[in-house]
């Protein structure tokens, strides 16, 4: 309850700041429009206004302030503009329509899910290898860190082209980029998790003369569950970013990334912002869903108190 009040307060504060920020951000564009429409603007020429202070401009031309919240292509769209756009492109469009955000969200989501499954699968396998083989631990782990310093996003177009060349197209290239991004947090989290049993718990199994696989299934795997879920949550958000990145270079085909690109290409700031928010909401939903699964699983395992 207290949390809801707090969140709403913070949101309200953000919205107010946002509206206020629209004024200096958009005032120059608005004044240019007003000038073209014949209004009297101080100073009258766009060239003079170019290097002027925005807040001063807004004060000098107070009549133009309301228009900063209504521009068609603002530098910073007002919150209600984004909200209306999202409403129109989700609820008011058929979800099969190419103009529906839900359709595009679904396209992105399917690549995200595929990539997430591949990424986590590989991540867990690698983590198991690292935990069980000292050779892998010594030689692979440092490179996993180095691999994260490579700007994969910059490589996305090349990856896609290379995959084209072996005949892989469509959802797979996106999924691979998304898998690459989700892979690392899962490896790190799972290595930590699989190593989380303490010496005593391991010794206990030794006194039973348990085999390695028994040790894995009965001790390491269950013990790693909380870590797994934490890293899955990070991983799924990364996956989504990966899928969106993968959509950019393949051209404005479909998906939230394509929406972002098209919005950017045609200067449709409102569309960019609504695609951005759609992506963030999608991420929040995925993380929330994982949180829900986490809670039920851990509860059934008796690990949530």
């Amino acid at each position: 309850m207290k949390q809801i009040v707090a969140v709403l307060t913070v949101l309200a504060a953000i919205v107010i700041v946002w509206y206020a920020a629209c004024i200096p951000m958009n005032i120059k564009g608005v004044l240019t429009e007003q000038e073209r429409a014949g209004a009297e603007v101080q100073p009258p020429s766009a060239k003079d206004r170019r290097d002027m202070d925005e807040i001063g401009l807004a004060l000098n031309n107070a009549f133009a302030i309301p228009a900063t919240w209504e521009q068609e292509r603002p530098r910073l769209p007002a919150p209600h503009q984004v909200a209306i756009e999202m409403w129109e492109t989700t609820v008011q469009k058929k979800i099969t329509s190419k103009r529906s955000l839900i359709y595009h969200g679904w396209v992105t989501l399917s690549a995200t899910m595929l990539g997430f499954v591949i990424g986590t699968g590989l991540g867990i396998l690698l983590a198991v290898g690292i935990v069980h083989s000292r050779v892998m631990d010594l030689s692979v782990m440092p490179w996993a860190i180095v691999s994260q310093t490579i700007p994969i996003i910059a490589l996305a177009p090349m990856i896609i082209v290379v995959l084209y060349s072996v005949g892989v197209q469509g959802i797979i290239p996106k999924a691979i980029i998304s898998a690459y991004l989700s892979f690392f947090p899962v490896v790190v989290g799972m290595v930590k998790g699989l190593r989380s049993p303490d010496a005593m718990q391991l010794d206990l199994l030794r006194t039973y003369n348990a085999s390695r696989s028994q040790g894995f299934w009965k001790l390491r795997l269950p013990a790693s569950m909380p870590y797994l879920f934490t890293s899955l949550k990070i991983g799924v958000a990364a996956s989504l970013v990966g899928a969106i990145v993968g959509e950019l270079p393949t051209g404005a085909v479909a998906g939230l990334g394509a929406r972002l690109l098209a919005g950017s290409y045609y200067g449709q700031t409102v569309q960019i912002w609504s695609a951005l928010f759609a992506a963030a909401i999608l991420a929040a939903c995925l993380v929330g869903l994982l949180g829900l699964i986490e809670r039920t699983v851990l509860k059934r395992m008796g690990m949530a108190q």
Binding site: K2, L138, V146, Q148, M158, V162
Partner: protein, 281 residues
């Protein structure tokens, strides 16, 4: 065919060497901890070279490491200029501003519970905004030079740093806090003497995550507009010109810079949090 067999041989050799090292008597020494990944890296590079040569992969798809190496040495001045533009100006300044302001914000969040309850969920939401969407907006707002890149980096590192620092500041155990209570310590006394030191492992965790984010952010932001300089600019332009060797040379720079940056932060961490069990092990 022969290069492919060679590649398999290189793989087996690398694996054999590392197995020997790992199970040998010195497997816990620093030397091995350094050597094993090196051997692994060299193995991968060897295989790469042989496969590219063996299958005659075109240069415009994947250049061989030797070609990249030559390009790297030939283009040092360009690479250096790009490095300064992207890493020093864009990534580093954004990193400092972002981590610094996140730290200050974390103190405020820690101080007022209301902020923690309200801001953190919103913060997590904002952190989920994909960089490829925010970068063009920030380029539009902050111009083409490194300022917009720094802004992208600030946005990227702010929330991971905030979340980690806030978690860290709550890390002190109830008993440690109670002790401060019995001394009737003021807020700032208990902050400086208890919560801040206890938070250090978490703060460094955030700082480490942020290093790679900063690098990636600065490079990717250049895709959306830049002066004719910078690693992201060079990568995308070189792809267009099919100079894949240059692309990979820049990637080498990014990996080197990222590893060095990460390593530096990890070293400072070791010095500051020497007392933490994870550093003593």
């Amino acid at each position: 065919m022969i290069p492919i067999l060679g590649a398999i041989a290189v793989w087996l050799l690398g694996w054999w060497l590392n197995s020997r090292l790992a199970s040998g008597p010195y497997s816990d020494t620093r030397m091995v901890r350094f050597l094993a990944p090196l051997i692994f890296g060299l193995t991968v590079i060897g295989i790469w070279e042989l496969v590219v040569r063996g299958l005659e992969v075109p240069l415009v798809i994947l250049p061989a490491p030797s070609v990249i190496w030559v390009r790297f040495w030939d283009s040092l001045p360009t690479l250096w200029a790009d490095f300064v533009q992207t890493i020093i100006k864009g990534a580093l300044s954004g990193y400092l501003i972002g981590c610094g302001s996140a730290f200050l914000m974390a103190i405020a969040v820690d101080r007022w519970d209301f902020l923690r309850l309200g801001l953190l969920p919103v913060g997590n939401f904002v952190a989920a905004l994909p960089i490829v969407g925010t970068a063009p907006i920030l380029v539009m707002w902050f111009g083409f030079d490194w300022h917009s890149k720094a802004a992208v980096v600030v946005v990227m590192v702010f929330f991971p740093m905030l979340v980690n620092t806030v978690a860290g500041l709550r890390e002190a155990t109830a008993m440690q806090r109670d002790l401060m209570e019995t001394y009737a310590a003021t807020y700032w006394q208990s902050f400086l003497k208890l919560r801040l030191p206890a938070a250090m492992p978490f703060i460094f965790n955030g700082l480490k995550i942020s290093t790679t984010l900063a690098l990636i952010g600065a490079i990717v932001a250049e895709f959306f507009g830049s002066p004719t300089l910078g690693m992201g600019f060079r990568i995308s332009t070189s792809v267009g010109q099919l100079s894949l060797d240059m692309v990979w040379a820049e990637i080498v720079v990014a990996a080197l810079a990222g590893t060095a940056f990460y390593g530096l932060v990890a070293m400072i961490e070791k010095a500051v949090t020497f007392w933490h069990p994870s550093q003593r092990g």
